[in-house]
Symmetry: D2
């Protein structure tokens, strides 16, 4: 395949050239390549990005008595429509059970079902002597090198600081990385019960049960523990100034922590919780304030926020209605897997908040580097997988549940006009998306074993 004359953007570069793909990988990049290809795509006037990588999604996940509504097929297909060629999903250990058994359960749902490429983080919810023995095997045998921890959801997912420090030491020993959901679950549980006790049951109280301090505090604590153990740490879905300041303050002691935010925290705010359909945006952490959006954009440009993901975890309106009388029963999560790349371009690049290179860095390259898929994934370079997005920077269109491909009957961005559109997507040398159609079938998506993680990017 030959992609002609596109403006190629990587995390570093920006130039116009042709890309020659052979089998699954990129063979040559050059001006006016004089080769004959089976398929030629004219990318004149278009941007050519590496395929997006969304390192934070939850597909077909059992949660709060139901399952997230996108399965591995619908989720990875919707991702492709939006220019995301690979996702990393989360396996959740069941407390009392092994990591292995959770892996098997998740494989049962994902194997042969993905359209796009994928990997897993392993969420450790019960760290004990048995779990400890499984860490090395996950990293070295399964290529699962990152371990998710929860500082919230006591009784279900949360580990205490004793387990956290123990896990950090084990993960560090084997070259892995700790991901963390950093909110103070105890404080949140207190506030949820307090609000419920006072009959405050609307979605707004979901927000008010997770004030900034609950995230700032847990982030400080995580950063302290990571510094103590020396284990590489990655804070998922960081939303607010208080939490980012924990990371900024830690730079003074020469510490480095990886930070992920999600597209929604950059562009939506908590005023949505006062709407009648506020349940659509019930997620944890919740949306924050305008000042937090500013902090997050600044953090990206300061190099202190390295990744923009989604925490895609869709629930249909019917599912959301489980909590119509009690915010604490609303399944947490929101659909965005298909929208991330276009929204980040439109709100970030087109509005001059970030450069094109930074866009690729946070949406494609850094996830690949931090999570050990680089240089196979995350860039456009000779030898890398031919995961490519051809993007029209000028085409305007409007997001809507009517047109999206996610298995959810509403959009968190209904009617949002975006500038820039994913036109063609290539995954490992095959056309995935063209003319608004998905050309790949379920099962094409491959599980990507990952390497030990980089500590510095």
């Amino acid at each position: 395949m030959l992609i002609k004359n596109g403006r190629i953007i990587t995390a570093t570069d920006d130039y116009i050239a042709d890309i020659l793909i052979e089998a699954e990988t990129i063979k040559t990049i050059g001006k006016n390549l004089s080769v004959k290809a089976d398929k030629e795509i004219d990318a004149t006037g278009k941007l050519v990005f590496p395929g997006g990588i969304d390192p934070h999604v939850h597909l077909d996940m059992p949660f709060m008595g139901t399952f997230s509504s996108d399965n591995y097929e619908t989720g990875t297909r919707a991702a492709l429509y939006g220019g995301t060629t690979m996702v990393i999903d989360f396996i959740l250990q069941k407390q009392g059970n092994s990591l292995r058994s959770a892996l098997e359960e998740w494989k049962g749902r994902s194997d042969n079902n993905c359209v796009g490429d994928y990997s897993f983080h392993m969420a450790v919810t019960d760290f004990n002597d048995n779990t400890k023995k499984e860490v090395q095997e996950m990293i070295e045998k399964e290529g699962i090198t990152s371990f998710k921890t929860f500082m919230a959801y006591k009784g279900a997912l949360m580990i205490d600081d004793r387990q956290m420090v123990g896990l950090m030491e084990e993960v560090k020993k084997h070259g892995g990385l700790i991901n963390v959901h950093a909110t103070n679950g105890d404080m949140i549980d207190y506030l949820i019960q307090k609000h419920r006790g006072e009959g405050k049951l609307s979605p707004l109280y979901h927000y008010l049960s997770q004030p900034e301090v609950t995230e700032a505090e847990a982030s400080e604590r995580f950063v302290d523990m990571a510094n103590f153990t020396g284990c590489p740490g990655y804070i998922v879905h960081l939303t607010c100034e208080g939490a980012l300041n924990a990371v900024r303050n830690a730079t003074r002691r020469n510490q480095k922590i990886f930070v992920e935010t999600c597209i929604q925290y950059l562009i939506l705010d908590a005023s949505l919780y006062e709407k009648e359909d506020g349940a659509k945006w019930v997620m944890s952490p919740p949306l924050r304030e305008k000042k937090d959006q500013q902090t997050l954009w600044a953090g990206i440009n300061q190099g202190l926020v390295q990744v923009v993901a989604t925490d895609h975890c869709p629930f249909k309106w019917e599912q959301k209605l489980m909590g119509k009388d009690d915010f604490s029963k609303i399944p947490n999560g929101h659909p965005a897997i298909e929208n991330r790349m276009e929204l980040l371009y439109s709100e970030g690049v087109a509005k001059n908040k970030i450069t094109l290179n930074k866009y690729v860095e946070v949406a494609c390259t850094n996830p690949a580097k931090i999570f050990g898929m680089f240089p196979q994934k995350g860039t456009i370079a000779v030898g890398s997988d031919a995961d490519i997005v051809i993007f029209d920077p000028n085409e305007k269109h409007t997001l809507s549940a009517k047109t999206h491909h996610m298995n959810v009957d509403y959009s968190g961005y209904e009617g949002w006009e975006v500038t820039g559109k994913v036109k063609t997507v290539v995954l490992r040398g095959q056309i995935a998306i063209e003319n608004n159609e998905c050309k790949l079938n379920k099962g094409y998506g491959k599980f990507i074993k990952r390497n030990k993680v980089f500590q510095n990017i």
Copy 2:
């Protein structure tokens, strides 16, 4: 020209491929390119970097009653030997005179004399209504987009905060950048006179006249003024924890400041001032402590230190002896233009302090991006200038004045064993260095007009 089979490193990428050069630029990059080239270089087992860019050098510069000992020919040639294909030198406005007249004076020394490519920063030492009118012209007509300021050297180079803020507003308006030598000149002048008054005249008192606080204070003040005006700012030769913390603290208010350190601050420390030949390392700011080295390496990996330069400003031993009885008469500066790339590789990459990508980022790519030469310079990409270094990562050799090409009769790194050696250097498609010989003549080096600077990298 065809460079075969090298391991190509950019600020982002890392892959093995061939590079085809046509005239001055890179035409194609690919696996096993089947083309016929006039010249083929086998880079198997070698690293292939973009040409280094040293954005902080002083060639043939009048200073303290003498001239720095490398002129534009010897300096840019030595740079090429060390893998640096472009430098940015400093024009110094004379107080009372125009920027234009300084530009003419500097052109008189540099025109047709450079072997490697070059540009200039314009040091504004007298900001007044006339100078103000020249700013736009420098940026738009001369392609000189960065303006150096001194917070020290009162009576010669220093401007006060009123001038600083005025210059910042003007530079911002036209899309330029302010560089700053951020040390508190008044405090330093006090300490110099105090030490001299007490008969403390050895090189050690050069160090003790510029304690950390003099740099930390000025950095805080500069950061405050840059925040107030919104003008992009770049701190040159930052050396210490206190100064870097000024930048780190400013991240809390969503501010971004560019930071340059120099190779010597990463690897040498102030204990050298107690040696008999301590004058060799008399530079401003002075070398600091081990803890400062750690901070600077951390700052690089945190993304808060973006550039490693040299502040190359060589003086022969005879010149240094002007201050043999009084540290304040020692010409300030040290030779490093030839050593930067090899030392940073050896001390940084080979000792696992930074990754290969980070190495290229701080030594090649960021200088080009921050100072507006990108993508012409600073990367290996189709369409960019073919400025390329072929580097043997394993060859060990020893630095010495006997073998270096700088016009100075000692080395600040005499006997230092480094791992990794620059083997071949290409500048705009021409072999510059091969078999330890320079193949280019004086005059080949081109003045590079620069674009308005990036604010985010």
Copy 3:
């Protein structure tokens, strides 16, 4: 004299007792003292404070081509009406002249003219080898132990950082203290000229020419220099969050800096500059924002703001009109010497922002301790001067130029209703104020020689 049954408040204590005064000092404090006194005052139901000390006033001061409108008589008399029994005024060295000659000039205006007690700070505006020799003499012979410095008003009062550090070392050597007006004069001069150049001439532009950063920056710089030299430092009229944070941050390196704010910064804000008679509040630094008021109250309770003064520097409306067409010509200053104690009680104690003990601490005791008049002044204790205020905590009254005793034809607090009223004032055993009349004559006020200052309070 016997004061019966009052509720006596010191910086520490709070109890009901009788106070027996003999000659100028307190002889006995006890329950139901059974002595016969020439004069008995029944203080039942009243608060009994130490006489207030205002360590920051400018009487009969030449400034901006005129003199502040209260002379030593009217100023110290008005102070007594307001419960302030002692003030510290400022002598301003004339650049080029000696400290001694300034002292003589100021004595010429103050000697035999004061009603209340007084001392001087010495403002050093030209630190050179001659001035250096006078420091010790001022401290040891004249009892003038505090040295004021200006980081603003270039060409008139400002010293540069070289002079500052030199002065600090000299003052430290002899056990004195440095006071500082910490605003960045260069930045302010730039903004004044910029605004004037743009025809922005109203009082609002006085405010906009001294933004928070100008004070924050200078405070950081002063704190850095004080830390470097180890000289005790005292920031006068600190107004804002940015400046107080400089002091707070310095606590991390175990540093202590004394901080004074003024009553107006605690209770007025910058919205006044938009009023037609905004010139009344033109002072430097200017009034700030609500958030700054909150910071200052918090700072008092944190123990990081130790003094509440006034910077009393009154000008009549006619004088203020010198700047009716140009804010930069408005004489800077505002009248408050008479209002401080009542306003601070009413806004601070009566509104539960500070305790009674804290009130006495910041308005009476700390000034005496920091500036070396303790235990002669600043407390109610056996052996101390009988400087006493009998205060009705419940009496409400309204501030007005019609009723105040300051020599100025307007009030900055016209119509302000306060809770609490100074009823009787005793100065060194003599009734000063009783029944709204001043019983003391010009010349009663004594110059108080001060001791070397405390470093820790």
Copy 4:
């Protein structure tokens, strides 16, 4: 009783006078009081302090399978010998039981057994709906206004953050205060088990199991929760820079937290753990480093550390030997109740680290103010309890188990020479200590009901 001619020191004052005591309280203070008293004490040349208050002691406390070796008689008597006239002990709720039942149990041991005055803090180890109801009663009926919480000792004393926030809201509502043992129990438990697992069992590993981060982290977290709830907070036995910096950083958001350190953290350091009898200093938190001592002295002078207590919790050597083979079995605690006042004078005042006023403030007055016994206790003022220490500032003597009165067979300060000696102690008008003899009997000590606490001192 008449105390003649002593130099009376309060937190504010310093003067020479006579003190006349009538019954239990101070009646008159004055120069040359001409009264006839039953008993006259000549205090010429002596210092006269308020009786010391030690707000952190553990007498006759069940802990780790044994009881602290001083009971209420021996402990309060030893305190009197050392100039401490009142202590606050801790009641520990048993998890699953009520506060009331714990109060009864503690009363059973303390009632009629104290020689000196005392009160209790209530340690809440199980906050639930029942406990919640008891808070108000404790404050209003029992005069127990401060509630101790543990962030360590999981399974025995620790509460989680949910309980903490709930308790804070309840305590705030009723005007109380939260005390906290702020160390991260989970991290400590991890490290203890890790060290034990590696056979590292000596007292040094007690220290290494509680690194600075465990205290810094918990202090940050507590400060965050206190800020969120607005509940007054008091950190007990703060030992280190990291923890004090949590408090210092919080000043930036206008927060105030009370901080107590203990005498041992000011003067001893962790090198003792390498001694053979290191078990003597096994306490939690452990002794720290020299830099932490400096921070704590600075914190006192900055006004950010308000109290110096002891955490007196003695165990005999035989009891300490319970852990001779395993540091985790050593009963935690050290004897100091008798030594605090003399050590703080000798190491603080006599070595010019703190002033005399500050000495009284942190050892006597602040504990009384913060915990609601002021002005009855904590000062020398008319109407206050006549709790008085007559102190010879010059007498040197040597601390030793041979001469001390605590019920423990070693001293943590054996052979330590101190400057200054407690000569006479008066408690509520009665001679308690004279000529090295205790004149009071068991049962004289009174339980002091406390008022709602001050928020600002």
